[in-house]
C-alpha cells in the first residue's frame, strides 16, 4: 500500500495528521501523554478555559447512555492565565497544534481571553458558544445567530493573527443559520458538533443521575447527527474549513466526517474507553485512504457524492 500524506491544513494551520482531540476530553494532554507521545496527534483542543478559574458543577457529572455519555462537568478549569503559565509550555514540548478552547459569559471576556492567548502564541482559538450569555439573560450564544456573530466578531478583533474557530452547538433548529452568521462575522473555521442536551433518570431514586439534571450527550450515539450537521454546514458555507467531531471512534467515522466536509476530525469520548483511540483512528484512516489509493488524506474532505 502506498504511503498516504496525512497532513491537512485547517484555517491556515498545518496539522501533520487530521486527528485532533476534542476539548474537555483530553485535559491539557498530561494524562493521556502517559500512554503515548502527544506528537502522535495532529492537534489538541484544550479543556475549555474561562477568564478566571472555575470549579465546575457539583457531582455526579457523568452518566452512561446507550453508546453515549452525558456530562455536566461545566467548564472546570484553572483559568486562562494558569493555562498560559503552566500548561502551554508543557504542550509546546510536543509537536502538535495547540488549540485553546474558550468560553465567556460576556463578549468582553471572550475578547480578553483572545488577547492573552494570541499573545501567548497558541496555534488556534476555538470559541465555544454553547455557554449561556449572562447579559442576554442566560440565553446560549450558540442558539441565536446575532449573539453568535457578536462573539465571533469580538474574538476576531482581539485574536490578532491567530485563527479563530467557532464551535457550534447541535441543539438548534437550523445549524446553517448560525454557521452563516458566524462565517459572515469573520470566523476562520468552524468546529462541530458540541454535545446534544440529554438526561438520564435513576428509576429507583427517581433522581436525575447528573446533579445538574441534564447534561451533554457525546459518543458514538451522536455520530449520525454530527455527519448530517457537518454536511449541512459545509454546503451552507462552502470554503470555510471545518473541524468535525461527535462520536468518532473508528477510522471510518473520521472518514465519514471528512467526506461530509471536515478538514480535520476531533476524537473525544472514545478516549475514555480507549486511551489510544485517537492514534487508532489516525491509523485506520490512513489505511482506508491507502486502500482507496488516495495520495493525501485531505482528498477525502468534502468528497461525499449526495444522491
Amino acid at each position: 500500500m502506498s504511503k498516504v500524506d496525512l497532513s491537512v491544513v485547517l484555517a491556515g494551520v498545518r496539522l501533520k495528521n487530521p486527528i485532533v482531540v476534542a476539548s474537555g476530553t483530553f485535559g491539557f494532554g498530561r494524562e493521556y501523554g502517559q500512554f503515548y507521545d502527544l506528537s502522535e496527534l495532529g492537534g489538541i483542543c484544550c479543556k475549555g478555559l474561562t477568564l478566571h478559574r472555575r470549579e465546575g458543577n457539583p457531582p455526579p457529572r457523568i452518566a452512561e447512555t446507550p453508546m453515549g455519555i452525558l456530562n455536566s462537568v461545566g467548564l472546570q478549569n484553572p483559568g486562562v492565565d494558569a493555562f498560559i503559565e503552566y500548561e502551554l509550555p508543557e504542550l509546546r514540548k510536543h509537536d502538535l497544534a495547540v488549540i485553546a478552547n474558550i468560553s465567556g459569559s460576556t463578549p468582553e471576556e471572550y475578547g480578553i481571553m483572545c488577547e492573552k492567548l494570541s499573545e501567548a502564541g497558541v496555534d488556534m482559538i476555538e470559541v465555544n458558544i454553547s455557554c449561556p450569555n449572562v447579559k442576554a439573560g442566560g440565553l446560549a450564544y450558540g442558539t441565536k445567530p446575532e449573539l453568535a456573530a457578536e462573539v465571533t466578531a469580538v474574538a476576531k478583533a482581539h485574536a490578532g493573527t491567530v485563527p479563530v474557530m467557532v464551535k457550534l452547538s447541535p441543539n438548534v433548529t437550523d445549524i446553517t443559520e448560525i454557521a452563516r452568521a458566524v462565517a459572515d462575522a469573520g470566523a476562520d473555521a468552524l468546529s462541530l458538533i458540541n454535545t446534544l442536551r440529554g438526561m438520564r433518570i435513576d428509576v429507583n431514586t427517581r433522581r436525575p443521575i447528573l446533579k445538574m439534571n441534564t447534561g451533554g450527550l457525546s459518543g458514538p450515539a451522536v455520530l449520525p447527527v454530527a455527519v448530517r450537521m457537518v454536511w449541512e454546514v459545509s454546503c451552507a458555507v462552502p470554503g470555510l474549513p471545518i473541524l468535525g467531531m461527535g462520536g468518532v471512534a473508528k477510522g471510518e467515522d473520521a472518514a465519514q466526517l471528512m467526506l461530509a466536509g471536515a478538514s480535520a476530525v476531533a476524537v473525544g469520548t472514545a478516549c475514555f474507553a480507549d486511551p489510544y483511540a485517537p492514534v487508532k483512528v489516525r491509523d485506520e484512516l490512513a489505511e482506508l485512504a491507502a486502500e482507496q489509493g488516495l495520495a493525501r488524506a485531505a482528498d477525502l474532505t468534502g468528497g461525499v457524492r449526495p444522491w
Binding site: I62, N71, T269
Partner: protein
Amino acid sequence: MPVQQRCTVVEMTPINPTTYWMVLEVGNMVEELGLRAGQFLHVACGEANLLRRPISVALAYPDEPEDTAALIFEVKGEGTRWLARRQVGDTVDVLGPLGNGFAVENGGRYLLVGGGIGTPPLLGYAEAFRQNAVAVLGFRSADRVILEERYREACKEVYLCTDDGSAGRHGFVDAQVRDILEKDKNFTAILACGPRPMLKSVAAVAAEFGVPCQVSMEERMACGVGACLGCAIQIADGTMKHVCKDGPVFDAGEVDWDV
C-alpha cells in the same frame, strides 16, 4: 504510570449470590508499576457498555509468569453483569494501576472499617498489617457478609456488624468504631471504605477522637485517568478533587461532607 493491558482471568469464584472474586494476571503491574490494594483498575465491560468500570484492587501480588490482582465486585448493572460472566481463561481489557491507595507506614497500627462492597479494598491492608490491624466490617444482613474468614485469619480482632442484626452486632459500623476508640485510640489511622453516609459517620467519630482517618470515595467516572474531570468530589475548601487521580483515598478532613 498506567498502562492498558489485556488480562487473563485465572480465578473466578462467586462468594455470595451477587458478589464475585476474580483474579487477573496483570503483567508486571505489581512489580514494575507498584499496583497495590486500594488502587483501582478501570475495566472494559463488553462492547455494549461504552465506559469502563472502576473496580478496586483487593489484593496484589508479584508472581510468575505474571503478577496477579484480586478484584471483588458486586453485580449492580449491565457492566458488572458482563464481568460476572467471564470465565477462567477469558481476557479482560484493563487500565491501571489507577488512583492512590491508602497511605500507610511500616509498623503502623490501623483500624480498618469496611462497609459492604467497601470491605474488599481493605483486605490487602489486613493481610499486610495482620496483628497490627483491627477490622470493623459492616453489612446489610447475614447473607451479604463477605470475606469475614479472610479478615479473621489476618487481623488481630474483627468486629462484624449488620444493619438488621442477623449476624454480629446489630447496627452501623460507626457505633462499633466509637466503642473501640473509647477503649483504645492508639491507631496510626483509620482506613475506611464503604457507602458515603458510612464514611461520613466514621469520619465524624475519628475527628471526635482525634484519630487520623482516610476514606476511599466513589464517584461516577469516564476516563479514570484525570482527563475528563468527571469524577469530581467537593473538598472542604470549596475546590474540587478527582476520585480517579487525587483519590480514591482522601484524608477525611479534606472532604466536604455537607453536600
